[in-house]
Every structure is written in C-alpha cells, then in structure tokens.
Amino acid sequence: MSSIVHWEPESPFLNDVPSAALTEAATSHAQVFASQAESYSPFVTDYEDEIGESGGGPRAERFAALVAELADTEFSEALEDLVNEATAIAEDRYRVSSEANESEMEDSGAEQAVKAYLEPIAQAAESMLEAMAEQLAQVDLPSASNSEVDSLLEQFSMPTHDLSPVADQFLGGVLKKAKKLVKGVASKVTSVMPHAIIMKKLATLVRPLLDRVLKTAIKRLPVSVRPMAQNLAKRFLGAPLGARPAGEASEEEELAAVDPAQLEEEFDSEIAGYAMDGESFENEAAVEHALAEELAPRGNPLRNLARARKRFARRIVTLKPDEPVEPVVEEFVPAVLAALKLGVKIIGRPRVVSALSGLVANFIKRYVGTEQARTLSRPLVDAGLRIVGLETVEEREEDATGYAIGATVEDTVARLVQDAPEAAWESEPLLQSYATEAFQQAASAHFPDSLIKSELHESSNTSGVWVGLPRGSGHKSYQKYSRVLDVTLTPQAVSSATTFGGVSLRAFLADRLGVKIDRQIRARAHLFEALPGTTLGLVALGEKNVALLGTAGRAGRSLLHPLTPEAASAVLGEPGLARHVDQQFLARRGRIAVGQRFYFLDVPGARVRQARRPTLSGMRPARSSQPKIVLDFPQRELRLFLFFSETDAQQVAAQLRKKASPTAVISMLKSLHETIIKRALSTQPSSVVKVIHETAPTENLSIPIAANVMKLAGNKLARKLREWLASVLSRELTQHYDRVAGDFISAASNDADGVTLQITFQAPPLLEQIRRALKGGLAATPGLLSAFGEDTLGSYRLEMRPGFAVK
C-alpha cells in the first residue's frame, strides 16, 4: 500500500494547487483497507442464481394465481396517489418548520398531520369491509354459481363520506380488491377459511397498509420493503425469490423512495397467504413483521440528513484558516451514508467511514472557510441560484456556498456507493480512484463551469448548477438545475426520445397534452435530480411557479420524464446533463433512483388532458398507447394487450369508418405497438412484460423472472409475438372486416379513454418450453430456442374493450 503515499487526487477545479495536507490525510487512513479486506465486505453476498432450485408445484401456482388476480392497476394508482397526497401533507409541515430549531416537534408535526389525514380513511375502509363480511356471512358462497356471486358483489358499494377525491379513489380501490378477493378465492384456491372471515382479515390489514403509507410519507419506511413481500411468499414457494441474471445490476441501484407498488404487493401477498392457510400463515406473518420492525433503522435517517446538511453548510463556511475540516466532514458523511440504502452497509464499519471522510475532507479542504465562501458565492449566484430560489426563504450568499459544498460531498458519497464495485472497498488505490472520479463529477454538477475544468463540464452551451430545493434550509426535497433551457422540439427528436414505460415523447405529448409536434416548436426544459427521499410528486409539488406543476397530484408528476442520455441528446442537445440509470427506473414514475435526472417540458399553451378512470371515480391524465405481454403459466396462456390511446383509437376508427383496406389498417395497428414490443422484450421487461409464475407471484418479483425469460429468448419471443400479431390481425381483418371494424368503432365511440385489444394465445407450446427453461436453466435453452422456430399460431381469442382494460 506504500504507493498511496504519493497519491494526489485530480482536482476538477481550475487553478488547483496540490496540497501536502491532502496526501497526509490519505496516508493516515491507508491501512484501514488492508485490515478490513480479509474480514469484512460492506456488501451482502450477491444473490445466487436460483433458477432450477425454485419450489413451484400446484400450491405455489395457486398462490401466484391469486396474487395475480388481486393485483389491480386502479388500486395501484389510487394507493400511489394516496402516498403522494400524504407526502405532500408531510412536506408542507417540513417546509413550514424547516427553519425552526425544534426538530422533534417538526417531525411529530408531520406525523400527526398525516395521521389525521389517514385516520378517517382507515375508519371508512374498515367499516365498509366489515359490512361486507357481515353480508358474506349470510350466504353460502362455495355452492353459489358465478352469476350468483356476481349479483352478490354488485350489492356492495362505497360508503358515503366527505373525504378527498384521492381518498375516495383509494376506498373504491379497496372495494374493488375486496370483490376480486371474493371471486379469486372462489375460483383460484380452495381456501380453508370462510369468505366472511377472509373479508374480516382484509379489514384488519387496511390499517397496517395505511400505517406504511404514513411511514412512507414521513420517510420512516426503509426504501426496500421487498424482502417482506418476498418472505411472506416463501411459505408457498419453497425457495427464495428474486434471482437476477448474473451480472445484471440490482442491489447496486439506490431507490430514492419507497415504490408504492411494493406496498400493494405486500398487502396482496398477505391476504392471499391468509386466504390459503389461515391462522398458521397469520402467525408466520406476525413474526415476519416483528422481524422487519426490529431490523428497521432507528430514528429517521432522512430527517437527520436534513439537520446534518444545515449544520455542515453553516460550519464549513465559517471555519477559520487554522481549523481542521475533518471533524466537520466526519460528522456529515455518516449522515449521508445512513440515508442511502447502500450506505447503510458501509456505515457499520467506522474505520472505512473515517477513511472515506478523510478522502472527502481532502477534496474540499481548500474551498472552505469564510474567505473561500465569499469568493465562491458570486459565481454561484451568477449561475442562476436566484432563478431557482425565488419562492423560498432568502439565503445568505455564504450559505449558498456552504450548501453547494455540502451537496458536492453528498453527491460524491452517493455516486461512490452506487458506482464503486465491491473490490474498491477492499483496496485504497481503487477507492481513491473511484472517489476522485465521483468528486469530479459531483463538483462539476454543483459548481459553476467558470470554476471547473472544461473537459468536466456537464453541458456545452449552458452553465448551471444543481441546487437542492427548497433553498435556505437543510430539508431538501430534490435538486433543480439552475438554468431553464430553451429547446426546439422537432418531430424527429420527440419521436426518438422515450419517457417512462418506453412510450415515445411524441406520443406522450399528443396524448397527454394534445400537442402535435409536426413542425418545430419552441419549449423550455426544467431539469431535476433525485436525492434520497425524492419522489416525482415532491418535485412537482415544489415547482409552484411552473405552469402545470405545483401540486403533488398525478397530473403534475406525470409530466416529468427521465433524462436519459438519449433524451438529453435528442431533446436538449446536451448529453452530458443526463445520468444513466438501470432500466428498472425507466418503467414507471413510482420507482426512481437517487441521482436519476428528469426533465419537464413547458410547451406553450399545453394543458393536461384528463380522462375518466375505467371504474373508479374521478379523472386521471390520458394514457398513451402501450402494449403489455402477460406470460401466465398457471393458466397456460400468453396474453397480448394492445392499449390504443384515445388519439390513436380515434385515428384507427376514422380509417375503419372510411373502409380503409385491411393492409392499411393492419399496418396502422401494428406500427403503434411493434416498436415498444421489440424494445421492451429486449431491454425493458419491467414495464411491459408481466410474468405470472409459481416463483413470481407479484409484479416486482416477476421482474427478475421476466428478465431471465428475456435474457434467454427476448428477441425471439418479440419476433414470434409480432408474427402472431400480424397473423391474427390479417386473418381477422380479411375474413371478418365488418365485425372487427364495428367492434372497434363501437369501443372507440364509448367515452372511456382509448380502446384495449386483447389477444389471448391459448396454451402455446413455447410457453411450456419457457417454463422448462426457467426451471432447467441453460440446459433447457436449446429446446426453448428450437420451440420458437416450430411454434405456429394456434388457437387464440380476440377481444376489444373500451378504455384501459389491461390486467
């Protein structure tokens, strides 16, 4: 390790002068790594490839089928909206009191406010479900026919209340799920429990669910609740889940905030488990919950980080020339690590933390103190700080420097824990190298280009900085780029850029905003970055002075797009402003990563088009066309859902009204979905592919399985599906044009948003081959690949429904 004595970090700053103190500090922490390397790794052992070891069997299939049946898009959305509304309430309290010193009161104020919001919802849901249980106790459901069950379910309705529209949707979602539970238990499983008892259990599970909503809103729930759903399912599946293909990133990704979809999965797993095994499952679940509670972090790491930020920002700019910087950094770095899922694994190693703090202290030591603060503050203000801070409290210029240095430290640590491989934590030279790179990137992001070497600039034509908002306090909800960029949207650019779920930006703008980009249009782009705890609802909520944003509602946050390198090139012409993230964070807006960047396009005159929800009350932003492929192993079905946005549906309907040729119609129908199918099956399984498999009962857990399927045969499956789709459309439109056209026009005439076309391929042999391949691993792959060549279009069912009917 002697070589490190001469190591000097490469500074990202111009006019940098090497410092002797810097190398001394690095040396003093050198042996930390050697001693720790043999005995301790900051990371847990990687998942093993468990394909072939999974449990399976009919019981697992029934469990998976019931969980799949319970999953409901509208409930998911309602739950997500509830989490966002509760978060907005908590945020309001945090913002109002962020300057106050009574931090405990600040936290309890937010908690009390959210509790007060959720309590009447819990009461309404419980009384609704208990009333259902009482009615169910009066009937003999097991011997009832399907139509009798349906007519019974129709009698159940929402209680009257005066709660918010979001709460109303949530209650509607709970009612819908309860009905699905009754039907699911009747058809999917042979339950040991009477329906009424299961319904009573569901009533008792609502409050724990809302408690998790509360904890999510006040940031007290750890970002990863996946093990809970996983552990609850273990009883039925016989083996641990979540095997990811070797080499594919998963644990290294830092989720910014709890994904509300995970709360639903846990809820569904618990009720499905209870429906199947009754009290014995209940006892097991109680133990799992107790364990989870035990393992949850004490205190509130994000609130601690907020306080640490403030202290750091104040102290770092008031250091006297002879005062050491290390103690200030050593106090701050653990708070940053504690707020990161991956950081928690490092924080248990005080000596590594100390070493890391030493490295960071060396990076920043020449930029601290009163004099430096004054020198640095002017360029920061010139970089546009005032623009982004208009709506918040005034902050002293020196404070701006303090927060900028703090943000640089925080970003350096976050980048390091996300990007540095395990080996880097075992070797100081490697860690130094990664830390230097992380610091250069972080400094370039948080300091104006005038202070940064040109080769490190994030952008070529603008000079902004990333600023934590709100300004003037340690409580930061997200970061914003201090410059709003003028961009020119061309048809080519918006066609090549995609937003969440792989939807093209062009389609999104047309469907959601009614903006047709058939010529150049000028717009303004606001850029954002996620911090630990950031949700897109918080970003939208914070942007009070930006048209169409300013609330945490779905409409606002749905206008934020991932700033991928491709989008940054096509839309902004500034690829360096993007941050690459794993594909899983491009699937939906509820699941985003720390450091992930986003953009909002302020298009002149654009407004969000709202559409009626499929079954629940109220409106939601109109959707874009999207396919969904469901590999349902228990049902032996492959279902292809093609949702046509209202825009696309009306254009198809107009062609059909004109009696356009089958070729023209097929071409139009195919073209609207083929690109996404092709792209999704090779790169984005999580957004478009759903796997119902005995080892993957929930959508999140199905992602690794879907990834496995796609890794084995994604391209071939995509080609086969497109081939079958073409065959089905061709056959139907040439043989039954009038009927198909009539059905489509009729569905399009309904005032629901869009049209869903569902093709169910029944028992295609390749599905069985995929199942074998999933169980048999690579040995079964040749059989699977040959099956694609042989499998021809078998029996299928074509259905059309008004609105969004993707399940």
Binding site: G553, G556, R609
Partner: protein
C-alpha cells in the same frame, strides 16, 4: 389629532387585511376549480396589489407614531387620502377577480367555463406557438350583456402597478355555449402580442382605394383584426354568431360612434360574411348577407353616413383582401391565412371532420380536446343553418363542453 388619524388608519388596515384574504375573494371550490398555476398567478397578483396598500399604511403609521411635533392636519389628511385611494384601486382589482371567480363555485358552470378556458387557450396557441411566443393562461368568466370582452394579459390593472397575469375573457350569459366570441377575444390578445393592429390600420388606411373609407376602417382595425382571427378559426360559425349578436334595432346597426373601435354593425356583419365568400366561395352566407341587407336598409342610416355605408359595402371585397390575404410583418411576412388556414373549417372540411369522428365527435376526449375549435366551428356552422339545427347544436355544444370542462379539471 394624531390619534384620530391613527384610528382612521386602523380602519383601512383591517379592511386591507380582509382584501388580502383569498377566502374573502372567492369560495374554496372556486379556487379549486382553477388550474393550480392560474390560482397561484392570480393570488400572486392580488397579494401584490394589496401589499402596496399595506406598505403605505405601515409607512404612514410609522410616521404618525414617530412624529414628535404637531404638524399641520392637512399634511396628514393628504397622506390619508393617498392611502384611501390606493385601497380603492386595489379593491377594484380584487373585486374584479372576485366577480370572475364567483361563477366558478357553481360546478356545472365551472365546467363550462373551464371548457371556455380551453377554447381560448387553444385559439391563442394557434397564432402564438408558430410565431415562437409564449401562450398566456386564460380565465373566462360569465356576465350580463350583449358582447364579450377581454382584459389582455400583461396590461396594467387598476392600481397602476401590477400586470394582469392572465387573459381575462368575459363570456356573455346568452352566448355561453355559442362561444365563438371567445376566439374573437383571444384574437385581441394574440394581435396585441404580435403587433398586427398598427400594421393592419396602416394597410386599411392606404390600400382599400378610398381615403375616407380607409380612414374609417383604419380606426376600426383592432376589432377587424379580432373578427378576422375568429373567421380563420371558426369560419361561417363566427359570422352567423356575430349576426345574431348584432341584429338589433337600425339605430344601433347603423351607429358610428366616434372613438369606438367596433365597426358599425351593418358593415361589420357584412364583412364577416364577405370573409366567408372570400375564403370559401358561394355558400349559405350569401343568403344571410342578402337577408341582412334587406332587414337593415341603408336608407335607415343617418343621411350623412349613408354614402359611407354604401361605399364601405362596395369596397368590402377589397377590405377583406387587405385583411386576410396581405402579408404582414407580424406574421413573418405572411398573410393571416398562411398562419392559420381557414380551409380547416370550410364546410367541406367540417363535414369531413364529422365523418371521420362519427359518433365519437362529441364524446371522445381526443376530438373534444384536440379539435375543440373545429368542433365549435362545426356546431356554430350547423347553428347557422336553421332554427332546428340551432336548437340541436346548442344542446350538443353544451354536452361536449361539459365533457371538455371535466377533462380540464384541476389536477
């Protein structure tokens, strides 16, 4: 004496505090019915107006409290009067928006007004986006009267210090669902931003071939511009609706009011119908034009003005040519019809729209959202055909505007 002034000041302080309270301006439902950003902009503007009064009250209060010597009561009285005046100006601003928002607390009316907001915004966007300009937010409200009106975004309000944050458009009660007038008002905003009116005024003054007629029409340029904007967006529908609004007594139809930017109704209706002839050739406007001339004979005009009306009527093809087909710098050296193609709302195009959309035309969110102006043109066109079609059109129009209002519900 100073105590008396302080007591008076306390009265205005309390009054100003009420003025600043959003809950005294409009019901919570009314605020909620606005788009979030619109609400923020309005509150910001109102707070700014009220803050100015509060600042002046505080200033005077400090002066009164710190004044060690007795001063001439006239000095304080003068300062108090200034405060009162500031208050009254701020109150006028607040009162105006309070009236605008009042109608938004009735859910059905709020939905219709949101649809009007949408139509106004789309109409402004059609002209401003191609010219690379920002599109201001629109706030429509309903009120009594015959004609619509607009307070343009960016204009100074009554207190003289704050700019109107949104294009505020009055929709009349009688025309709430025959609302092509909104497009006319949106046209005022667009032409203000693009600077067309001075150019058009100059062109009318110099290019219509008669100095007297040219001078007269030049003075009417702002309203002619807005009528032209309504024509390119809604075609015959705009002309038919204008006809119905202006079809009053001859004394009004032939009135030329000095300083009034509105053309005399007689020639204004004829111009709107001539625009249809200019753009689409023969059509139902010819019959309406003949009927108008028959109902309102020029002989009913003041004898001094008859020649002016007759000459204006004769020159209408040329006037229309100047308005619609002459290139202007405001449009990038193109005519208005190149910026917004009126053929999109020709009778043939509207029939095509009706065929393409079928039963979905007035139910699909796609058509009602994206083609709101053409659907307005379609229903307005049909309303111009017969009493039965008018009745049917009003019903249809109200239904789809309610849907459109729901689509634009505040998120």
């Amino acid at each position: 004496m100073q105590a008396d002034f302080l007591r008076s000041l306390e009265h205005w302080k309390a009054a100003t505090a009420r003025l600043a309270d959003a809950d005294y301006v409009a019901a919570p439902e009314a605020w909620r019915s606005l788009e979030h950003y619109l609400g923020v902009s309005l509150r910001h503007a109102l707070n700014k107006a009220v803050s100015r009064v509060q600042d002046s009250i505080q200033q005077l209060e400090r002066e009164l409290q710190s004044s060690a010597t007795q001063r001439d009561p006239a000095h304080w009285q003068q300062k108090l009067v200034v405060v009162r005046q500031l208050y009254l100006r701020a109150e006028t601003t607040v009162d105006f928006y309070a009236d605008c928002l009042a109608s938004r607390s009735i859910p059905r009316l709020a939905a219709l007004l949101r649809a009007c907001d949408h139509i106004a915004t789309r109409a402004m966007a059609e002209g401003l986006v191609p010219m690379g300009r920002q599109v201001p937010a629109a706030l429509t409200y309903w009120d009594k009267g015959i004609g619509a009106s607009v307070i343009k975004a960016g204009l100074r309000l009554w207190d003289g210090t704050i700019d109107n944050p949104v294009a505020t458009i009055k929709v009349t009660r009688h025309n709430l669902v025959r609302c092509s007038a909104i497009v006319h008002e949106a046209g005022h905003q667009v032409m203000h931003m693009l600077g067309w009116v001075p150019e058009l005024a100059e062109a009318l003054r110099t290019q219509v071939g008669d100095a007297t007629v040219g001078a007269l029409w030049s003075a009417w340029a702002s309203e002619v511009a807005a009528d032209a904007y309504a024509h390119v967006h809604t075609g015959y529908g705009a002309a038919a609706a204008l006809h119905d609004v202006l079809d009053g007594a001859n004394s009004a139809v032939f009135a030329i009011v000095p300083g009034d930017p509105h053309p005399a109704s007689f020639v204004r209706v004829l111009m709107a119908l001539e625009m249809c002839r200019h753009t689409y050739g023969d059509g139902p406007w010819d019959r309406l034009s003949a009927s108008w001339i028959q109902k309102h004979k020029v002989s009913a005009a003041h004898r001094d003005e008859r020649a002016l009306f007759e000459e204006s009527a004769r020159l209408l093809p040329r006037i229309t040519q100047v308005v619609l087909s002459t290139p202007y710098r405001a449009f990038g050296n193109r005519p208005l019809t190149a910026l917004i193609d009126p053929q999109r709302v020709s009778p043939r195009s509207l029939e095509q729209l009706s065929r393409d959309a079928g039963n979905s035309a007035f139910t699909s969110t796609f058509w009602t959202w994206n083609e709101a102006i053409r659907l307005l043109a379609l229903t307005s066109y049909r309303a111009g055909e017969s009493p039965e079609r008018l009745r049917e059109s009003i019903r249809t129009q109200e239904e789809w505007m309610l849907r459109l209002g729901a689509q634009r519900a505040a998120a």
